[in-house]
Assembly symmetry: C2
Homo-oligomer: 404 residues x 2
C-alpha cells in the first residue's frame, strides 16, 4: 500500500466539482460541491450522535438505507439545522442534484455545514447545480474539497493505492472540520471514495469499525456537531472480486481505509480552529483498550493542557490531572509521562511523581508543530491514540464572532 497524489477522484470512475453559488457572502470562497460515481456505488455512512441532527443527515440516512448511492452534494456556509423547513430544503437539494445528473434522488447523499438555525435559501443551489454537473471532471477533487471548507485553513485530502486479489484498488478522501469537533460515532464531513468492489454490508462494517479508533478519537473543542457525517462510496470499478466477508481482502481494505482516515484525522486536528500545533496522545500499557481510549481522549480534551501546549510549557501535572478525572480506573502511582516531537523526547514524570528535567530542552521540544504526549500506564498491554490541538487566542477570536 502506498500514499498517492489526489483525493476524492483518485479512485476509478469518480468525478467532482466545486463552485461559489452564493450561499456565502465572500465570493472568493466556494460553497457548493458535487462528487459523482460513473456507476451506482455501494455506500456506507456514520452520523453524529447529537440528538439535534441536521436535516441533511435525516435525508441522507433515508437515501442510503438501501446500501447504495451515486452522488454527494454538499454546501458550506449554512448547516440547514434547526430550521422549520430543513428537511424540505434537503430533499429539494437532492431532487435538483438527481435531475442535473439524470439519476434517482434516492441515490443522492446530501450534506450541509455552517451556521445553525438560519434558513437555507434553495435559489443559489438551484442555479448552481447545472453548473456543477456540467463541470464534473476527474480533476475537480480539489474544487470539491474547497467547497466544503468553513473555518478550515487547509484543504484536507488524501489517497492510497493497494492491492486486493491482484487488482490495484484506490481509496481517496476529503474532509472538512475545524471547530465543533468532538465526534461521537462520526465526525464533521468526510467523503471517501473507492473503486474497490466491496458489498454494502462489509463497507459499513469497515467504516463503523474504523471510526472507533480514528474520527471518534479526535477533539478540537469538546463540542459534538449536529451535522457530523462520514460517507464512503465504493463503485467496484477496480475489478477485484467483491469483498463479501472477513479475510485477507477485507483486511487489506481495512488497512488502506485506516491509512486514509488517520491521515484525515491528523489533518482535522492539526487544522483545529485557531490551532498552532497538532497534539497526539498515545497511551500504552493499559489493562484494556477502553481504559486507554478514555485516558487518551481526556488528555487531548483538557483546556488547561491545550493552553499549556500553546505556551510550550511542559506542565505535565495537567496530564496527570486529566488522567485522574477521566473516569478510568488506573493506578496513578504507576504512570509515566513524556513529551516527544521532531526535536527529541523528554521524560517528565515517572511512577506518578515529577522527575528532574531540563526546562530548556522541554521548551525546544514543545515549540515544534507536532507534539506527542506519551502516557505509559504500566498496567497491561493495551493502547490507544487520540488527536487534538492547542488552545489559542485565535480559537477565541474565531468563535467569539463566527456569525457576524
Amino acid at each position: 500500500m502506498k500514499l498517492i497524489e489526489g483525493g476524492i477522484c483518485a479512485a476509478k470512475g469518480f468525478t467532482a466539482s466545486g463552485i461559489h453559488c452564493g450561499i456565502r457572502k465572500n465570493k472568493t470562497k466556494k460553497d457548493l460541491s458535487l462528487i459523482c460515481s460513473e456507476v451506482r456505488a455501494n455506500a456506507a455512512a456514520v452520523y453524529t450522535t447529537n440528538l439535534v441532527k441536521g436535516a441533511p443527515l435525516l435525508v441522507t440516512k433515508k437515501h442510503i438505507s438501501d446500501g447504495h448511492a451515486q452522488a454527494i452534494v454538499c454546501n458550506s456556509g449554512n448547516a440547514n439545522t434547526c430550521n422549520a423547513n430543513g428537511v424540505e430544503i434537503a430533499e429539494k437539494m437532492s431532487d435538483l442534484t438527481a435531475a442535473a445528473l439524470g439519476i434517482s434522488p434516492d441515490d443522492v447523499v446530501v450534506a450541509s455545514t455552517g451556521v445553525i438555525g438560519q434558513p437555507l435559501d434553495i435559489e443559489p443551489i438551484a442555479a448552481g447545480l447545472p453548473v456543477l454537473a456540467g463541470t464534473l471532471s476527474d480533476e475537480g477533487g480539489d474544487d470539491a474539497a474547497e467547497g466544503i471548507m468553513t473555518t478550515d485553513t487547509v484543504m484536507k485530502k488524501v489517497a492510497v493505492e493497494f492491492t486486493v486479489g491482484g487488482k490495484t484498488c484506490r481509496i481517496g478522501g476529503i474532509a472538512k472540520g475545524s471547530g465543533m469537533i468532538h465526534p461521537n460515532m462520526a465526525t464533521m464531513l468526510v467523503f471517501i471514495t473507492t473503486d474497490t468492489a466491496i458489498s454494502s454490508g462489509m463497507l459499513q462494517k469497515a467504516l463503523s469499525t474504523d471510526i472507533a479508533d480514528t474520527f471518534n478519537m479526535v477533539s478540537v473543542d469538546g463540542d459534538t456537531s449536529t451535522n457530523d457525517m462520514v460517507v464512503v462510496l465504493a463503485n467496484g470499478l477496480a475489478g477485484n472480486s467483491e469483498i463479501t466477508e472477513d479475510g485477507e481482502d477485507f483486511a487489506a481494505f481495512m488497512k488502506a481505509l485506516n491509512t486514509v482516515t488517520v491521515h484525515l484525522c491528523r489533518m482535522i486536528a492539526g487544522d483545529g480552529e485557531g490551532a498552532s500545533k497538532l497534539l497526539e496522545c498515545s497511551v500504552t500499557g493499559a489493562k484494556d483498550i477502553a481504559t486507554a481510549k478514555t485516558i487518551a481522549k481526556s488528555v487531548i480534551c483538557s483546556s488547561l493542557l491545550k493552553a499549556a501546549m500553546f505556551g510550550a510549557d511542559a506542565n505535565w501535572g495537567r496530564v496527570l490531572c486529566a488522567i485522574g478525572y477521566s473516569g478510568a480506573d488506573v493506578d496513578v502511582g504507576k504512570i509515566d509521562v513524556s513529551f516527544r516531537s521532531p526535536k527529541g523526547s523528554i521524560a517528565v514524570c515517572r511512577s506518578g511523581a515529577g522527575i528532574d528535567f531540563s526546562e530548556e530542552t522541554a521548551k525546544t521540544i514543545l515549540l515544534e508543530k507536532e507534539i506527542e504526549i506519551l502516557v505509559g500506564l504500566n498496567d497491561g498491554s493495551a493502547g490507544a491514540t487520540a488527536w487534538g490541538c492547542d488552545l489559542t487566542y485565535e480559537y477565541v477570536r474565531i468563535n467569539g464572532d463566527y456569525r457576524t
Copy 2:
C-alpha cells in the same frame, strides 16, 4: 436571614491571619493562611473525585474523620500534589500548626493550591506559622482570603446572619478558584465557618446535599482539580440548641448555607481565569432534576458557546448543539431558548427552531457582565442552574504560561 459584612471571621469565635512566607516569588502576594476556632468545632468536608488527589486532602481526610477540627492552614503557590514526599510535608504543616496553636495535629485541616508536581519546601512554612499564630484576629479574614488566592483577581468572601431557635447564628465563607474549575463532589478551596451548634453528622449532610446544586454546578474550563476541597467548621458558640436532626432548624441552616455557597459559586465562575462575563444557565420544564442538571452543565461547558458569549454573539445554535450532545433524553422540537441580562431579555429559539429577533437588541443584552441563558424544555416541572464564564484571550494567555 440577611447578608452581612465579613467573611471567615463573621461567626463568633473565629479568627484568621494571612502572610507572605516565601513560597511564592512575588513578595506582594500572600501565600500562607490560618483560620482558627476558639473552641474545637464540629467539622465536615467534601473532596475532589479526581483519582489524582493532592497529599493535603489525604491528611485532612484522616484528621476530619472523627468529625472535629479546630484550625485550617492553607498555602498557595504550590499544590503539594504528585510529589514523592507530599504526605510527609502535609503532616509537617499540620504538626507545625498544632504546635503554634497548642492544639492536637488531628484537629488541623491542611490544604494547598498552586502548581502540581513541584516539591513543597517546608522551611518558609515553618518560619511563617508562629507569625501567623501571633497575628490571628477577628479582623484577619481578608488576609486569610488573600493568602489562598492564585490566579484569582478578586477576593471571595461572604457572610450571612440568620436565626435558629431564637438565637442569632452566622455563617461566613471564603473561596479561591479561577482555573481548573469543574468540580465533582467538591470545588477548589472553600472554607466556611459558623457559630451554629450543629452535630458533625448533620453538618456533613447539609454540606453534601448543598454542593450537588452549587459547587458541582460550576465550570470554568472542564478540568476537575486534584485539590478541590470544601470544609465547614461549626463551633456552636451561637448558643442555639444543637441541630441533630431534620426539621425547622436544619432547614434554616441549609437555607443560610445555600445563600453562602451560591454567592461563592457566582464569584468563582465570574472570576474564572480570564473571564469577562459570568454565565448562568437556568433550565426549566425538565422531566426530572437530573435532566435539567445535565443540560445546564453541558451548555455552560461548551467552549463554542463560551467564546460566543465573549463576542456578545447570540449564537443560540450552539446552545441547542450542547443540549443535543449532553446525553440527556429530550425532545429537541420543544426547546425554547432566550438570553437575559440587566439590559433586558430576548427570545431566540422556539420549539427547537430559530425565530426572528433583533441582532442589535441581542448585542446590547450580551455586552453586559452577567448573562443568563434560559432554556425551557416544556417537558415537565424540574429545573436546575449552572454557572460558568466566557472563554477569552486572557484564559489562553494565563494558561499558556502558568508555571514559568
